[in-house]
Amino acid sequence: MTKSSSKIDSKNVKIDVHYLTRVEGHGNIVVDVKEGKLTKCEFQVIESPRFFESMLVGRYIWEAQHITSRICGICACGHSLASIKAGEDALGIKPSEETIMLRKLLLYTEQLDSHILHIYILVAPDLLGVKSIMPLVKTHRPVIDMAIRMKRMGDYAGEVLAGRHIHPISYVIGGLTQLPASENLEKLYKMMLDCRKDGEETVKIIKKLKFPEFQRPTQYMSLTSEEEYAFYDGDLTVNNGKKTKVSDYKKLFTETVLDYSRAKIAKINGKPYAVGALSRFNNNYDKLHKKAKAVAAELDLKAPCHNPYLNTAAQLVEWVHCLEESIVIMEKILKNGLDEKKIVVSSWPKRSEIDKIKYKPNTGVGCVEVPRGSLFHEYTIDDTAHITAANCVIPTNQNMGNLEEDMRKLVPELLGKKTQEAITLDLEMLARAYDPCISCATHLLDVKFI
């Protein structure tokens, strides 16, 4: 529901996008310009509060993965992995290299899945001037079929590796509950190879689309690593500056609940910051696969890039990177096989032993890069391995303040040049470019439902 007018008025603009569409979760955009002065500029989160941190209290640490993957349907694998890492950190468990390799593969394939969903289903309709993918089924059928094929590959990867992509089953603390079937791995590998040409085709399509021009340098935070373009492991880095250990994340940024009833907002040095594909691209450019670098060059995307609309282009660059890295891992697996002894574990300790063990009361932190940015889970356990406190920091919460800063700079730039209707679309596209996943953001406040 968009209330807007189609005349240009440089002094008074009132925008109220109620229930922003084609994002994951519920959000409103509210902008009010009175006599040329921006009096209100908010991205309101209206998703119902979820209370995951409260639900976890009193649960065994081995349940955390199962429960927290339910925070988000898109990043269920990422939530699982952040949760598993936090659980292992608290319990002092070190998984095998083979397990870590399979986790990276799952994480890469989740980026493949989510980025394609965002590029084709959520963003492309704006750039093609339609309201959803549905009209494109008639006008652009081959492209839609290709998008579905690419999406299917990412989704199938979740099925093969973890039993299913939405709320994965077999990835648990310590390893996997069973190995992926080798015939399915071979099928997945072939699908990945086939997707290479779909990727090339997608680059051609995205290259032709016109993203709005807008520049605002900000603090870009992501994991970085000496070894690779960091998704699974690394240190927290802002604009290639000082590195912070993941376990010290609370020293790097602060989260506050705002008075005007909405999501918690995170800040570094008192200022908003951005996470997600563009931040990772800006901080990790050197570690990109050479094919992904070539795609960045073709899309004219250079690090550091300060146009938030180009987060979508950065997602495509990452898609190419993750596909190539996944193919490398798949080839290794298909060549060497998987060693059950090093990977397969039970999802829980044996019942006859669980109560006899004295666990060390401890706090563990886990961080991974999910499609929308750095995701943190932190759990404190007691000597019976029950959770006594939990905290989850979600990428969308971290981006919220940055998105509002962008809106505050963008609206005055457009005043007097564009109609209210056009400004509204630009703001919607800006919010969508961040790929907000609002149902993920568990720290949510309630805004009056109109």
Binding site: F51, S54, Y60, M134, I169, D259, S347
Partner: protein, 254 residues
């Protein structure tokens, strides 16, 4: 129930992760085929079109704030058929765990000194507020079952969620019983229909499809006690997805 010709379909989400809607999006070509049989008029996650005229409403998510109650009642007035899509809508899902602590405690844990600004009520499945015509259980929904329900809806036939335990399917799949592996499992009391998805993948059943009508909770309690579980653990297992039964078990088990 009357057969609907090219029905108009809308999707609405409440308190959830949107994963069950995504299961729809993940059907890919099958979704396009379904889109040929029905007219999708409202699917906010993937469409900007905002159709307010619909016959069938898929409801995802639990009811967990005052505004949700108002909104679902409005949807009920318009829709000829309401389908609870997924565990959150059908049983309350994981949201029900919130109800295990007093709401004030839950709010304080997450929002600290700003807790007073939060509006939240007990998390409830949709049918606790309005009449529901079809249920698709599970977290997430199992696509073969989704298709079976859609067929029933367009043909105007009822659909009955299996009322026998997951164990029946699990045995057919020749899985080794989790109890044999010195673990516990909710399979014996959980409604089948997922083809024992989690056990097939080496994990245990967590009860996401809701409990069978006669879960023989006492015998499950006996089994679980035999394997050395404390009352608190047993209740935790029962209420991970089934808080609507929580009070009942609190009574029965204490």
């Amino acid at each position: 129930m009357k057969k609907l010709a090219k029905p108009k379909v809308a999707f609405f989400d409440f308190t959830d992760c949107e994963g069950c809607q995504l299961q729809f999006a993940n059907m890919g070509q099958t979704l396009l085929e379904i889109a040929g049989l029905v007219d999708i008029v409202n699917f906010r996650e993937i469409m900007s079109e905002d159709g307010q005229d619909y016959d069938i409403a898929f409801i995802e998510g639990a009811i967990s704030k005052d505004a949700d109650v108002v909104r679902i009642k409005k949807i009920r007035e318009k829709a000829k058929v309401i389908i609870s899509l997924g565990a959150c809508a059908a049983t309350g899902g994981v949201n029900g765990m919130k109800n295990r602590s007093p709401l004030e405690v839950a709010k304080e844990r997450v929002y600290g000194d700003k807790a007073h600004t939060i509006n939240t009520i007990k998390a409830m499945p949709v049918h606790e507020v309005v009449k529901v015509d079809y249920f698709i259980n599970g977290c997430p929904v199992y696509i073969p079952e989704v298709l079976a329900v859609i067929k029933c809806v367009v043909m105007g036939k009822p659909y009955v969620v299996p009322n026998y335990p997951v164990c029946a399917e699990c045995k057919m799949n020749e899985n080794v019983c989790r109890y044999e592996k010195d673990e516990e499992c909710m399979g014996p009391v959980t409604r089948a229909g997922c083809n024992s998805w989690c056990v097939n993948n080496g994990n245990r059943c967590y009860g996401c499809r809701g409990l069978v009508d006669n879960p023989a909770a006492d015998s499950q309690k006996d089994i679980l006690s035999k394997y050395g579980l404390k009352l608190e653990d047993i209740l935790n297992h029962f209420t991970l997805y089934n808080d609507s039964m929580g009070e009942k078990y609190d009574q029965e088990f204490k």
